[in-house]
């Protein structure tokens, strides 16, 4: 692609040459023609490098010391990435920029040595030498992510031409949620139990615990070490100590993976908070041998994972959460200019060759006449051709995509989703009514809770990790299901994520923006709305005897787990009232 500098130089030199030759101004003609020939020579050289030399570059990426095509990363933990560009032949590209393309889920972080990480470098490729650069990044949310390759931007030495290509180097990683380590939980007294020991919770039945249950007369067959010798001496009769049982408490996590929880930036989405807290609660419970079950719901579907304990079960649970974080309900299809722009930008990064105007030609049409609209039509036509190539669509599909907004929006969303982009924001607004399918979500959640309650034979703990903050009315059928669980002497905790890292707090902590700061006023209004919604939700759920916690960031995990612990202990308040 020719740059502005080259365009102007070419225009001036052509004009100068024509004027010089026509008017017999020899110096002007000579100088201008020489500039023209120089530009032509630079163009030849540049095109040779782009068309013939660039194809001999290869990329090898090492993530955490491994070049494997797949692997596992953890959210919040830094991953060291090293990229090596290998030239398979002796090349001469004097000025090139390599940029490792990162999905939106990855964020660059500083390295261990405090140096800023950069996923790009300006360099040259001379001979058969290789180029290596490295950086540190961090996955922000659970799911999967894919390194696609390296964007290569080639320039000539004088800023006259540039071209962009893409070196594929695909590596796919499963991203598991990192759990927050919390303090050990305290034992509680359990009245009914159907689970086999061991555990840490006290059950007032004879067992092998530490707490004394009662003293009784010795019966032949009792172990000698359980004989209470002092009491036996006082009573002149052999007495045996009986201890309480130590049993576990089953915890069931209800994780809301509906479409409404996927709104926002990676790492800040309600779903990310839910997954992180679910992992933390599961780890905390399993550390005291409590079995943990998982119920993953979205707007239409529910998946059950039977309760279990141990590391294997924990990792299976994380894997299930990561998978569901990716494969969720389909978003509402809506064609917006923002969606098209975003898809166009990503397409230009990942498939610059397929957007080459020489290969991907736009048929001539008279309409639209206006330049802006014409440009949009050109973009759409080229993207339609790229989608047809990528997804092996029918030959007439590009024309359908050009004129059918719904199909085009659907393809754009699919493309962005596969490229690892959060595509929700151009499509829907968080405040809009179509973000949450409340009816479907409550239907699924209620049936799941009812089913789990019906199958439980024990005093269990149900943790509902559900995004209810924007729900304008009382929970309705969900409240009935919660009452049912409470009637069966189960504990229920509701954990509600917040859309950003601002926990709904009190008004006095708010900063008052100036009257001219429109964005600040809007932020404050949104926060006030959220505080009111949180107060209303707390009031409604307290009537049902259900504690509510609002998860906003990593610090909230401790609070949430203390709420869960409160529920385990059988008390309704921190002061200890049962």
């Amino acid at each position: 692609m020719i740059t502005n500098r080259a365009q102007w130089l070419m225009l001036l030199s052509v004009v100068g040459s024509v004027v010089g030759v026509m008017l017999n101004k020899g110096l002007l003609a000579h100088a201008s023609l020489a500039v023209l020939v120089w530009l032509f020579g630079e163009w030849l050289l540049f095109r040779w490098r782009v068309e013939f030399q660039l194809r001999h570059l290869r990329c090898v990426r090492t993530v955490n010391g491994s070049t494997s095509d797949s692997g596992t990363l953890w959210t919040g933990r830094p991953a060291k990435v090293s990229v090596e560009i290998i030239s398979e032949r002796s090349l001469r590209i004097p000025f090139v920029r390599f940029r490792d393309w990162l999905p939106e889920n990855l964020a660059l972080v500083n390295g261990d040595d405090g140096a800023d990480g950069q996923n790009e470098i300006d360099t040259q490729v001379i001979g058969g030498s290789s180029v290596e650069f490295g950086y540190t990044c961090r996955a922000q949310s659970a799911g999967t992510l894919q390194f696609r390759g390296v964007t290569v931007s080639v320039f000539d030495l004088h800023g006259l031409f540039f071209a962009k290509r893409f070196l594929p180097a695909r590596q796919k990683f499963r991203v598991l949620p990192t759990s927050v380590t919390v303090a050990a939980t305290h034992p509680r007294v359990k009245r009914v139990n159907s689970l086999p020991p061991p555990g840490i919770h006290r059950l007032q039945r004879a067992g092998m615990g530490c707490e004394l249950l009662e003293l009784r007369e010795y019966v032949p067959g009792d172990p000698p070490k359980s004989i209470a010798w002092k009491v036996s001496a006082r009573r002149d009769q052999l007495m045996t100590r009986e201890y309480e049982s130590e049993v576990p408490i089953r915890t069931t996590l209800f994780v809301d993976c509906s479409y409404g929880t996927r709104h926002g930036e990676f790492g800040q989405r309600p779903l990310d908070q839910i997954v992180r807290l679910a992992a933390s609660i599961a780890r905390s419970a399993m550390s005291v041998r409590d079995p943990v079950g998982l119920v993953v719901c979205d707007d239409a579907d529910v998946q059950y994972m039977v309760s279990g304990a141990g590391d294997r079960h924990f990792f299976q649970m994380l894997d299930r959460l990561a998978k569901r974080a990716v494969s969720g309900a389909a978003p509402p299809v809506r064609f917006t200019p923002e969606l098209l722009d975003e898809a166009w930008g990503v397409c230009g990064e990942l498939y610059p060759e397929l957007l080459n105007p020489k290969l991907n030609q736009v048929p001539f049409t008279w309409f639209p006449v206006r330049r802006g609209n014409r440009l949009k039509r050109f973009r759409r036509t080229r993207m339609a051709a790229v989608f047809t190539e990528l997804y092996s669509l029918a030959p007439d599909e590009p024309q359908n995509l050009i004129y059918d907004d719904v199909r085009m929006a659907s393809m754009c969303q699919r493309f962005l989703l596969e490229a690892g982009y959060g595509w929700t924001w151009p499509v829907v607004d968080r405040r809009s009514s179509e973000l949450h399918d409340w009816h479907g979500k409550f239907e699924v959640l209620t049936s799941a809770l009812t089913r789990v309650v019906a199958r439980s034979h024990d005093h269990e703990l149900f943790v509902l990790l559900v995004d209810l903050l924007d729900h304008p009315e009382p929970p309705g059928r969900l409240a009935d299901a919660i009452r049912l669980a409470r009637a069966h002497h189960h504990r229920v905790v509701v954990i509600c994520p917040c859309p950003d890292d601002c926990r709904p707090g009190s008004l006095d902590r708010l900063e008052t923006p100036s009257r001219t700061d429109v964005a600040g006023l809007l932020r404050q209004a949104e926060r006030l709305r959220r505080i009111n919604a949180a107060d209303r939700l707390q009031r409604e759920l307290r009537r049902l005897g259900v504690p509510v916690a609002f998860a906003a960031d990593g610090r909230a995990a401790q609070l949430v787990l203390s709420e869960a612990e409160l529920a385990r202990s059988g008390r309704t308040t921190r002061s200890g009232r049962r």
Partner: protein, 277 residues
């Protein structure tokens, strides 16, 4: 998007550690090269203009100011001013073919100036200035004119660059880049002289015939070279690129018909939906 800046050295396994140029060295190079460019330009321009002429003095001052301030348009401005100077100074005559030793030396000086300035600007700025908005370009230019270290350019996408980007054979390639165009132009102008008999057979004035002849020769060279390169590049297309090209060609042929069918289908579907509702 803010980008962070890294000054640590980058290690290349085959060529050993490669140091990244420091901001201090940039400032030094910046001032030195600006001084050289300004001096050369001043010499060039003052050769053709009388310094006593107040208009030309103002023009010179504006030229230096613009050259120091405007960063990415400076090359075109330089060429424009040089061309304007040559146009004003040189009287047009049939004898002035411009293919003398003097004109070759002048062209060498002009090319040296343009190539050096372009090379320097490319070395010290982001390789993507052409994608920056005008406002961002001006900000970068002002920062550079103030000799701000390159560290502050990071916000505009200027990356740390390996010093090895400056090729060891830079001087040789510079000489080739200068000598070849001058030689080609000299040969071309010598091969296509003014023909006094042109009005008789072409019914055009001699300079017009000469302009058309040179234009046709250059156009032919350009088209032939482009065709050759395109043919060679065509054989190296990837399968996806080839499919894309074929599909694009096909859709151009049947574009009108398929578009009409697609529009009709969408319209009928919409009318059905409206009818149902």
């Amino acid at each position: 998007m803010e980008r962070s800046f890294r000054e640590s050295s980058t290690h290349s396994p085959t060529r050993g550690p490669v140091s990244v140029s420091t901001p201090a060295a940039d400032v030094l190079t910046s001032s030195a090269v600006y001084a050289i460019i300004a001096g050369l330009s001043g010499l060039l321009v003052s050769q053709w203009f009388s310094p006593n002429d107040s208009v030309i003095t103002v023009l010179l001052i504006v030229f230096f100011a613009v050259m120091l301030a405007v960063r990415f348009w400076v090359i075109a401005l330089m060429l424009l001013l040089i061309q304007a100077g040559l146009f004003l100074v040189e009287p047009g005559s049939l004898n002035a073919f411009g293919n003398s030793e003097g004109s070759a030396f002048l062209t060498i000086a002009v090319l040296t100036l343009l190539i050096s300035a372009s090379r320097y600007l490319t070395l010290t700025s982001s390789p993507l200035p052409y994608r920056l908005s005008n406002r961002a370009s001006i900000k970068v230019a002002v920062q550079h004119a103030r000799r701000t270290p390159r560290r502050d350019f990071a916000a505009f996408g200027v990356l740390p660059r390996q010093s090895s980007t400056i090729d060891s054979t830079e001087v040789v390639t510079l000489l080739v880049r200068i000598v070849v165009p001058v030689a080609v132009v000299s040969v071309l102008l010598a091969a296509v002289p003014l023909d006094p008999a042109a009005p008789e057979y072409a019914r055009l004035i001699p300079p017009a015939v000469r302009t058309i002849t040179i234009g046709v020769i250059l156009l032919l060279i350009c088209v032939l070279t482009n065709s050759l390169l395109s043919a060679l590049a065509w054989r190296r297309l990837s399968p996806a690129e080839s499919r894309m090209f074929l599909r694009s060609e096909l859709s151009q042929w049947i574009h009108r018909e398929v578009s009409a069918i697609a529009r009709g289908r969408i319209k009928s579907r919409a009318s059905r939906r409206n009818g149902m509702s």
